[in-house]
Symmetry: C2
Subunit: 182 residues, 2 copies
DNA sequence: AATTTATGTCAGTCATATTGACGTATCTTG
DNA sequence: CAAGATACGTCAATATGACTGACATAAATT
């Protein structure tokens, strides 16, 4: 079975890739390998959490919300929308579920009573820690053969892959760079 | 505005993360930084293509299909299902659109006439090259300050993040490892 | 001839996302 | 203080991309 002509292939359609000046490497030198490695790496990375989430009746959307609320306590709804890049309406249902089931609590802002600051409950933190544990295990396996300097290179690469124009609050916290812009 | 208590925070809920023995680092030492860098890096990485795809009336599902068909000509439908980890029914509509609009053609298998081998048309290849160009530009920017050895470390990390048990045909092609298993 | 395999399709459902409109409480500004 | 802007919530309708389950067909295998 599976007698496909699949030996040493991966034909590269470089023919018409000339309208985007690839900066450093060669002419129309597309980085197919890294593109696909990113796809598979992320697919399996999020897959770890997916299985666990099923047991809770949650999906990836819930994970993203509870993760960032746990990590950045006091996050506003508007901040969360910036980070997740979704609309208020999409967030609404997921957030409501997490509130109703006691994974997140809201507190009215002190300075601005319109704001609903979000905090994870111990229950929510436990779930996030469990999921982060699974993902950490995968990361630890991945960096097992890489020295400290190499891991820093990986971090540098990932940081440089992220858009820095108009960063949201979480990104500002991650990068520590408070752009003079407001 | 946005006067949130957001200065040097990122509280780490390490308290209950003790039921997953983190292999190498410390006890309950979760890799929050890499977890979040992966999230943002992938978010922006796929975001590049999303904008372009909108102009064609396509979504991410179309991109994934046409990408792998372009890269691995002669892919069978069943192979594609393994790679994308979706069901036949989900693939159906997306694949039909790409066929109808002339981005992909089917050819009956030579050895097995039940198979529909998938090939990208020039039109399909052009779209894939355009999208890969955008993503390559981002990757090139990201590795601008990293030497060849460092880039190889990044590749090593990404490869090690991928599940290797029961790899599909595309992964076998990427890793070149044909596991003695069939 | 019977079975398995590769593919396609129909029908229904679910999760997550969208846009647009509207309401309400609250803060800011003229 | 009145007017407007802001933060948030919600209602309605819709789209995408996924799912399960069932069934059909052609072709290969046994």
């Amino acid at each position: 079975m599976t007698d496909i002509n699949f030996s040493g292939m991966a034909a590269k359609p470089d023919s018409q890739g000339s309208d985007h000046p690839s900066s450093a490497a060669g002419p129309s030198d597309l980085r197919w390998d890294i593109i696909e490695l990113l796809f598979f790496a992320y697919r399996d990375f999020v897959g770890d959490a997916d299985q666990e989430l099923e047991a809770f009746g949650f999906g990836r959307a819930h994970h993203r919300v509870i993760h960032f609320v746990t990590r950045y306590p006091g996050l506003k709804v508007a901040d969360l929308l910036d980070v997740l890049r979704i609309t208020k309406q999409s967030l609404g249902r997921v957030l409501k579920q997490l509130l109703d089931e006691g994974y997140i609590v809201q507190k009215t802002g002190n300075n601005d009573r319109r704001q609903r600051l979000l905090y994870a409950t111990p229950k929510g933190e436990a779930l996030v820690a469990k999921l982060a544990g699974l993902q950490t295990d995968r990361i630890n396996r991945a960096v097992a053969g890489i020295d400290a300097e190499g891991v820093e290179t990986v971090r540098q690469f990932l940081r440089a892959m992220i858009d820095r124009d108009d960063p949201d609050k979480v990104l500002e916290a991650i990068f520590g760079a408070r752009k003079t812009k407001e």
